[in-house]
């Protein structure tokens, strides 16, 4: 019963290492994942997120087994 969590770029550097999953128990939205994974820091508004490789909004729901990722605005190309 776990949700996989990934942080990228500046977020990965700013946040404590090693949090790559959270317990799915009591988790409903992407914001909940953020709060559990970062020990209750509020999710900053510029942070983007995805569920299972698709862009999603923080209020959208997640399920056990999902992969949730958090990252700053993309800067490729």
């Amino acid at each position: 019963m776990a949700i996989k969590v990934k942080f990228f770029a500046s977020l990965r550097e700013q946040l404590p290492e090693g949090i790559n999953q959270v317990d799915a128990d009591g988790i409903e939205t992407i914001s909940d994942v953020w709060e559990r994974a970062t020990s209750t820091q509020l999710m900053p508004s510029h942070v983007l997120c995805s569920v299972n490789l698709e862009h999603r909004e923080p209020h959208e729901s997640v399920s056990d087994g999902d992969e949730v990722a958090f990252f700053p605005p993309v800067t490729g190309g």
Partner: protein
């Protein structure tokens, strides 16, 4: 149609030639392409190196989606996206988009769409090393 993520430096000319060679000679009349190259200056500072981080599975999926969308919106024959990841130096190519079509309007439109969509959706992040040795994450892409 093809998406390539390259850990080593690539030559856009070689990639375009390889891409065109997959299509029958004489079948396309137009090839539009764009190459983004690392500059030695950004936001007023000298940049000596750059690292491109990405979210591999998502990048590939997003770019494939971008190509599919281009193919559904324009009458094109084929499209190519090549993007560097890892450590790169000024003068190195970062990205290549190329589109072949019968006529030029579709190639121009779709090639530009690929770049704009890639810039806004694909999960790449640039970290610059400045002349001082300091590093910084690029925070925002320039608007297209």
């Amino acid at each position: 149609m093809s998406v390539q993520l390259e850990a080593d430096s690539f030559d856009p000319a070689v990639e375009i030639a390889r891409f065109e060679a997959t299509l029958p000679a004489g079948s396309f009349g137009a090839t539009a392409s764009f190459v983004g190259t690392m500059r030695h200056h950004n936001e007023g500072d000298t940049v000596t190196a750059m690292t491109l981080e990405h979210y591999p599975e998502m990048t590939e999926k997003q770019l494939q989606g971008v190509i599919d969308e281009a193919k559904s919106r324009w009458d094109i024959i084929d499209a190519l996206i090549v993007h560097r990841v890892g450590d790169i130096l000024p003068g190195n190519p970062i990205v290549l988009t190329a589109v072949c079509s019968a006529h030029r309007a579709a190639a121009f439109d779709a090639c530009r769409f690929l770049m704009e969509a890639l810039k806004s959706r694909a999960t790449f992040w640039k970290k610059e090393t400045l002349a001082s040795g300091e590093t910084r994450w690029v925070e925002k892409n320039t608007p297209g």
